[in-house]
């Protein structure tokens, strides 16, 4: 168990101006140190009532549902401003599932122009199990100005996915669980279920492990990869970051995912030759 260090307020006001450049995943020690220095905006994406019951110190609340209600870039930038996030400020996002909700929010922040966003390596439940500090005080910060700077390279829509299906060097990755994938998926997609991305309490495995698992699939390091999942881009958001961790530079998320694809009546690949659902022990 980690020893608790009290959260101290920083005496040097200048420190806050030197912004740390975050890695894809921020570890617990790094986050605690940033919190002590008041040099980070922590974003809790769980439900509002969970946040009220206790959260990581200094964290603001942004339930995923609120972001998804309207995730137009202009609206998301307004959210950033409302949460008191400035352009360079490090932002660390966490959830209580297995990183997928946090990933969807982090991806959206980066998409609208806040690249200095990271996922916390663990979930809130594990944070508590480690005996780390929490607080119940609801936090608000003075409104900031944040520019809108949409990063189109991170995003794919149905039309883009459709075109990619037949393009060399582009690969579709379905991050739903195996049985859902077997049942139906977008033609040409490969399955990297979200279940294989995390391990031992970390939302994502170590970079070299992820790299090995993806290389095992024979995916070329310079491939362009588009991830999607069932409905709103959470599981595939996590897969997006797993691929980034593994060193893939050109990754895109299709946030509207299979739900939209089906509603547009686009072709699906199905596998009906086996009764694999009957293997479930439920």
């Amino acid at each position: 168990m980690r020893r608790l260090k009290p959260v101290k307020s920083s005496s040097k006001k200048t420190q806050a101006k030197e912004h740390a450049k975050l890695p894809i995943v921020c570890d617990v020690d790094m986050l605690r140190s940033l919190i002590r220095k008041k040099a980070v905006r922590v974003v809790d994406v769980r439900k509002a009532e969970d946040y009220q019951a206790g959260h990581i110190p200094t964290a603001v609340s942004l339930p995923l549902a609120r972001l998804l209600a309207d995730d137009k870039p202009e609206t998301v930038v307004e959210l950033l401003q409302e949460l008191g996030i400035t352009e360079e400020m490090p932002v660390v996002v966490y959830d209580d599932t297995f990183g997928a909700l946090a990933a969807r929010v982090a991806w959206t922040f980066q998409y609208v122009g806040h690249p200095n966003t990271a996922l916390l390596e663990t979930t809130f439940k594990q944070w508590k199990e480690l005996g780390l500090e929490t607080e119940t005080k609801a936090r608000t910060y003075p409104k900031t100005k944040h520019p809108l700077n949409v990063n189109k390279d991170m995003y794919a829509d149905a039309g883009y996915v459709e075109a990619a299906q037949s393009q060399q060097g582009k690969l579709l990755v379905d991050s739903r669980e195996r049985l859902n994938f077997l049942t139906e998926h977008i033609p040409t997609a490969k399955n990297i279920p979200y279940t294989m991305l995390g391990a031992n309490g970390n939302i994502l495995r170590k970079a070299e492990e992820l790299k090995r698992m993806i290389e095992n699939r024979g995916i070329s390091p310079d491939a362009e990869i588009i991830t999607y999942c069932g409905s709103v881009g959470t599981l595939s958001g996590l897969a997006y970051y797993a691929l980034k961790m593994a060193g893939y530079q050109n990754v895109k998320l299709y946030p509207k995912s299979f739900k939209e694809w089906k509603s547009l009546g686009k072709p699906k690949e199905e596998f009906k030759e086996a009764n694999y659902w009957d293997l479930s022990a439920e």
Binding site: E177, N200, G201, N216, F271, Y276, D278, L279, A281
Partner: protein, 616 residues
């Protein structure tokens, strides 16, 4: 962040005793090698056939009509598993499979629908906890089985477990077993009642013989048995084989099979065909002669690799506390009895060690979820003095060395995860191979049918009827017997028949099979549409109840019918066929299209199969 590690050690753990160290079967370098072979295969640098052989040799079986996925078969010699192994399999099933694991009928654990490219990752995880998939499929010596009662069975001569592990270790990766004509199966029993010794290439029953006033340990060894499209019952090699000749007997048998087995005709290349075609008496002489050659030519260093001593569990387990009142295992129960009493009656048996009990976990056709595996692992740590589980050929788990005084608490723990269902040791615990859920050869969904039988029987409380207790239901999805239908009291194997012009899933029903040293093969009775199987069994039970002799159990009555010795209205198999003819009738397809579909499917039935993966 070791979250799983933190929770893996239960702070309230009662295991005051050193946990049993896991046997080391797996090797790290083989995982890397497998990953590289997959890459070469994908790059077209290895032929499909060569890769297939390699893949099977390493325990990855192709999935139904989808070669990009594998069923990963984890070899578990003697079925013995530590809590750490169960937890690892839980995580691997979540990460790379479908979130559940499956107990096979030969004490393997199977993970289904694993992407071929992830198989090496599964292997890597297994090596961490001492397990391997090596030689779990293909033309090799498959998992060596040992009765899950070995060591606790009141009727056994001695514990066969260390012998089974020693022979498994000797033969694993042994050059003499790397290119056999076909697969090879070795099964150890504890006593004459338990174990599958007559339906294996080599079956061994421990026994003690007095020689010159000295007690000598040894085995009755049966050769040339096996289940399949054509099944045979094994032959007794000699009255007594002393333990110091077990290795040479096994080696001699494998060598003869390797030399004389049919390498041309895949349909007839199991050793049982060789024995059958050679004639038993001749084959017996060949084995006895070959054994002398083996004994004369085997280097001492080689023979020392068979080391029974090193496989023995030398821990002194504490005595169980004396109980003032024994649990009411034999009290009469019925469907309305309290759940705990019903469970005691159908899932718990006393061991030869006073005060200790073996508890069975009822699974549905061997399926167990990742979260159930974790609960099971923690329960084993807290309640089994032995500290391990054994999986059983009835596709359940046996947890041994549970103190009688703690049965009720143990039950409570299991119940939190749906692991305390009754019926494990009764007719309700139907066996089902994987069938069309994952196997290329399957015609029907035997897996689901077995689960439906179990569900219905528990609902009706048939597990509480002691006259049915010794009877078994086993279902295979094709004639190849992975569901061991030929040693069931009532067995079924899947097929396709035209009924009123419509192709329909059907099962051939067999009567009167049994396991153990006096095991017999079932006799085919009739074909039954898949959706009529349950009603048919229930009708048989009804007829039996009307016609049985006093105190006669269902399996005894069925045995009598098979022999044509019925004394009431049903005299023989012909009579039972007639009596069941109305139950198996289907209404016209337009009236009830569902009756013509298989379980788990809402589409018109078609019999689709592909090349089997049983032979490499």
């Amino acid at each position: 962040m070791g979250k799983s590690r933190v929770s893996a050690v239960n702070p309230k753990q009662k295991g005051k005793y050193a946990p049993k160290p896991a046997s080391k079967w797996g090797r790290e370098e083989e995982t890397e090698f497998f990953a590289n072979r997959v890459k070469l295969f994908r790059q077209g640098k290895i032929s499909e056939d060569d890769f297939r052989r390699f893949r099977l040799q390493n325990g990855a079986y192709g999935s139904r009509l989808h070669a990009g996925y594998s069923m990963v078969r984890i070899k578990v010699p003697g079925g013995e598993m530590t809590p750490e192994q169960l937890e690892k399999i839980a995580s691997l099933s979540e990460a790379f499979s479908i979130g559940s694991a499956h107990v096979s009928t030969r004490q393997n654990i199977q993970l289904h629908w694993v992407q071929l490219e992830d198989v090496s990752e599964v292997m890597r995880g297994l090596v961490d906890v001492g397990l391997t998939t090596r030689e779990a499929c293909g033309n090799t010596v498959r998992n060596v089985m040992c009765s899950h009662f070995a060591g606790v069975c009141p009727d056994e001569a001695f514990d066969a477990t260390p012998y089974s592990k020693a022979i498994a270790r000797f033969l694993l990766r042994n050059p003499m077993c790397q290119n056999l004509p076909r697969k090879f199966k070795i099964n150890f029993a504890c006593c004459e009642k338990h174990g599958l010794v007559r339906v294996a290439d080599i079956g061994l029953v421990p026994t003690i013989k007095e020689e010159n006033g000295k007690q000598v340990q040894g085995f009755r060894i049966y050769l040339g048995g096996g289940l399949g499209a054509a099944s045979f019952i094994g032959h007794l090699l000699e009255d007594f084989t002393p333990e110091d000749r077990v290795l040479s007997t096994c080696m001699a048998t494998v060598r003869l099979f390797d030399r004389h087995g049919n390498r041309e005709n895949m349909a007839r290349n199991r050793m049982r065909y060789l024995v059958h075609e050679t004639g038993w008496e001749k084959f017996q002489k060949m084995v006895l002669k070959e054994r002398i050659a083996v004994e004369m030519t085997t280097a001492t260093a080689t023979a020392k690799m068979y080391d029974v001593k090193s496989e023995e569990d030398t821990r002194q387990l504490p005595k169980a506390p004396r109980m003032t009142k024994l649990p009411m295992l034999n009290e009469h129960v019925n469907r309305d009895s309290p759940a705990y009493e019903r469970w005691l009656h159908t899932n718990v048996v006393p061991q030869k060690q006073e005060g200790y009990f073996t508890v069975f976990i009822t699974l549905g056709a061997g399926d167990i979820t990742a979260s159930q595996l974790r609960v099971l692992a923690s329960a084993i740590r807290d309640f089994s003095t032995e500290g391990v589980a054994r999986n059983t050929p009835q596709q359940n788990f046996a947890i041994r060395y549970v103190r009688g005084t703690e049965l009720s608490e143990f039950y409570g723990r299991l119940a939190t995860a749906g692991l305390a269902n009754p019926g494990a040791l009764t007719i309700a615990s139907a066996v089902g191979c994987s069938g069309t859920t994952s196997c290329n050869l399957a015609i029907t969904n035997s897996h689901r049918l077995a689960k439906e039988v179990q569900r219905k029987f528990l609902e009706l409380g048939l597990d509480t009827d002691d006259s049915l207790k010794n009877s078994t239901i086993k279902v295979s999805g094709c004639p190849n017997s992975c569901g061991q239908h030929e040693i069931a009291t009532i067995g079924f194997f899947g097929g396709a028949s035209r009924i009123g012009g419509a192709m329909s899933p059907t099962y051939t029903m067999l009567f009167g099979g049994s396991a153990g040293e006096n095991g017999e093969l079932g006799k085919a009775v009739m074909r039954v549409p898949a959706k009529r199987v349950i009603d048919t069994i229930l009708k048989i039970v009804e007829i039996y109840r009307n016609e049985r002799a006093e105190n006669e159990n269902l399996d005894q009555w069925i045995g009598r019918i098979v022999r044509g010795q019925g004394t009431a209205s049903i005299k023989n198999l012909e009579d039972i066929k007639n009596a069941l003819s109305s139950v198996i009738q289907l209404p016209p397809q337009e009236q009830d299209p569902d009756a013509y579909m298989d379980y788990g499917s809402d589409a018109k039935f078609t019999a689709k199969t592909a090349r089997g993966e049983c032979a490499a």
